[in-house]
């Protein structure tokens, strides 16, 4: 017959009391752990995704949009830039490497990204099976896409225009073949289907009216900026200015072929350029140079994301503050609940004194009960926080393709457990002063 057993029995004999004093604690712990995990994972994800890129160069517009679209792939692009202009930056002495990316199509909501093989190296993406693309219309699938869509090596994929799953016109005439699947990397690469740049250009090189008005409208509404690069316009531009010698039709494959070859460099466009600097001077000088002297814009992912997180951060801080306040209130509610049980059980406590239990043992009895409450409350709260995270993860995955990890308890959370227990201990000591003043004779006699 241990004190802990009596404490446990005492506690479960009044489940309603227990639930009441647990409620606030569970709420606060779940809120704190949830917000903590969410902000930490979002930050972690962001860091992982932006650290391989020092600077993005793309069409003029919002720098944040440029970063969100070209690095994190969760927004529409600002427009296109000319490849030959971009190449000047690639050759710049401050630039260590610059990877062109071009995109605008999706397969069932997952972006098809045209880029150099250097992209894989930059993100340290490793093949799980198959090989890298060698020619056009070969796709390497990120692990999450492959898993979600059940893609297999050798499978055919028909892309559709636009970046959202619904509404885009399908490019049925130019199916892609899956040639490789990447290992999970925990970066945005997991969510992408990657091909070479030429595939993206070729996919849209039949601009002969199949991109009708309807789509034009869709694009404009999607992108909402007057620069409005996108394939439709790109194609129309090709159509209007370039290739005067060609009068191609969609089913005219040979023409296409020729056209590809004839597409002059100055007419090739990419969505953006992912730049890594040789040294920090580049970071200081190049963005300003580009923004002031070209009709492209340079955005620094680190800076932009920091700015974004700064905005989110104040929200996170507010939530944390609220959660901490609830935690304190829950400590107070534990105190009240213990005070109440001590009052209600004065006779039992006096009885235990006649059984030979000293005041210290009685204090332990209450302490056990308080710690029990705190521990169970923390545990339930923690589990609830994780459940919320799973729910939010499902939502984020559906909306943005990002997956949150559901981790075991972390150090900060153990600190929170410590704080919770400490609050419980303080509540116990405040509540149990009456134990020391307990008049056994009077308490038992009065009944």
């Amino acid at each position: 017959m241990k004190l802990g057993f009596i404490a446990y029995k005492n506690m479960v004999s009044k489940p309603l009391n227990m639930v009441l004093s647990l409620l606030l604690l569970v709420l606060s712990v779940s809120l704190v752990t949830f917000v903590l995990q969410l902000s930490k994972q979002l930050n972690g994800q962001m860091d992982k995704n932006i650290s391989p890129v020092d600077m993005v160069v793309g069409a003029k517009g919002s720098p944040l949009q440029l970063v969100l679209s070209s690095v994190l792939h969760i927004d529409s692009p600002t427009g296109n830039i000319k490849l030959n202009e971009a190449e000047q930056i690639i050759k710049h002495p401050f630039v260590d490497s610059a990877i062109p990316v071009s995109y605008g199509d999706n397969y069932r909501g997952y972006r098809i990204l045209g880029t150099d093989p250097a992209y894989f190296e930059r993100y340290e993406a490793v093949l799980q099976q198959g090989r890298l693309y060698k020619t056009t219309f070969e796709l390497v699938a990120g692990s999450a896409v492959a898993l979600k869509l059940g893609l297999k090596i050798g499978g055919k994929v028909v892309s559709s225009h636009g970046l959202a799953a619904a509404g885009g016109e399908a490019h049925d005439d130019k199916p892609y073949t899956i040639v490789g699947i990447l290992e999970p990397s925990g970066t945005v690469v997991d969510q992408l289907l990657i091909c070479n740049l030429k595939s993206v250009w070729d996919a849209h090189d039949h601009g002969d009216g199949t991109h009708g008005d309807e789509e034009h409208r869709e694009d404009e509404s999607n992108l909402g900026n007057e620069e409005g690069n996108d394939h439709t316009q790109e194609n129309e531009r090709h159509h209007d200015q370039g290739d005067k010698e060609h009068d191609h039709t969609p089913d005219d494959d040979e023409h296409h072929h020729e056209e590809e070859h004839d597409l002059h460099d100055e007419e090739k466009e990419i969505t953006s350029l992912l730049v890594k600097f040789k040294n920090p001077i580049g970071l200081v000088q190049l963005p300003r140079f580009i923004n002031e002297n070209t009709n492209m814009q340079a955005a620094l992912p680190g800076f932009e994301i920091q700015r974004l997180m700064g905005l989110l951060g104040s929200g996170v801080k507010t939530l944390n503050g609220i959660a901490m306040a609830i935690l304190l209130v829950s400590g107070f509610s534990i105190f009240i609940s213990l005070l109440k049980t001590i009052r209600e059980r004065r006779q039992e406590l006096a009885l235990l004194r006649t059984y030979g239990l000293g005041t210290r043992k009685l204090l332990f009895l209450v302490l056990f009960e308080g710690l029990f409450l705190a521990f169970i409350g923390f545990l339930l709260g923690w589990v609830l926080g994780r459940l919320a995270l799973i729910l939010v993860s499902k939502y984020i995955e559906a909306a943005y393709g990002y997956v949150l990890q559901i981790n075991g308890p972390e150090f900060v959370e153990l600190l929170l457990l410590g704080a919770t227990l400490l609050i419980a201990i303080i509540a116990v000591f405040l509540a149990s002063t009456s134990i020391f003043k307990l008049n056994i004779s009077k308490t038992l006699g009065d009944a």
């Binding site: 006649t354 030979g356 000293g358 043992k361 004779s441 009944a447």
Partner: protein, 208 residues
């Protein structure tokens, strides 16, 4: 076994009591009689060490409990004194058996299942061991209370008005059980009561 000398108690700013000297030998029984308000319960609390005497000495066995510090007194009371209260006191969240276990365990860490079952058998509680105390009838609760007073084989059992709410038949029965159990445990028995029916059962009597 129980020996008092010049026992005096003064409630802070209230009544004062002087008690006659008591000298009870081991395994003997004593009835302390008197009308309400003469300090019977006070005396019982003094003798059992839950109320400190203002002056005078109390010996239980060879121990002068009036000179023990609080901690030693707690321990002594737990091991050597049994109490049967006028109103029954239990740990309500525990069942009958757990209440008995609890009384056995502190402070001597005794775990004697056989004794628990034997005493429950004798007191007709065996079928109720797993029940919550609050589920029992008044009479059953009284018997649990007696079992709690004696389960740990105390040197002395103090019973406070154990028969006051009982009819004649039950009064006889409870006194019989108390005396019998005290005999079996080798404990002295002190009953404090205003109930005249008790007098004929005790040859040693102190009247307050």
């Amino acid at each position: 076994m129980v020996k008092t000398d010049g026992l005096h108690f003064q409630y802070p700013g209230g009544e004062a009591f002087d008690f006659p000297n008591i000298d009870l030998s081991a395994k003997d029984h004593l009835a302390v009689l008197g009308p309400s308000g003469v300090g019977k319960t006070t005396l019982l609390h003094l003798l059992s060490g839950i109320l400190p005497a203002s002056s005078g000495t109390i010996f239980i066995g060879n121990t002068e409990i009036t000179s023990l510090d609080r901690k030693a007194l707690d321990k002594f009371r737990g091991s050597h004194i049994g109490l049967v209260f006028q109103r029954y006191h239990f740990v309500k969240s525990l069942n009958v058996e757990e209440n008995l276990q609890l009384r056995q365990y502190f402070p001597s860490k005794l775990k004697d299942k056989e004794r628990r079952e034997a005493i429950a058998e004798r007191l007709g509680l065996k079928a109720h061991l797993k029940k919550k105390v609050t589920q029992l009838s008044q009479g059953q609760q009284q018997r649990v209370s007696i079992a709690l007073g004696l389960i740990h084989k105390p040197k002395v059992v103090f019973a406070d008005e154990p028969t006051s709410n009982l009819d004649d038949v039950n009064c006889e029965r409870v006194l019989g059980l108390l005396k019998e159990e005290a005999k079996l445990c080798g404990s002295s028995l002190v009953i404090i009561t205003h109930d005249q029916r008790v007098t004929e059962h005790f040859k040693n009597q102190v009247v307050l």
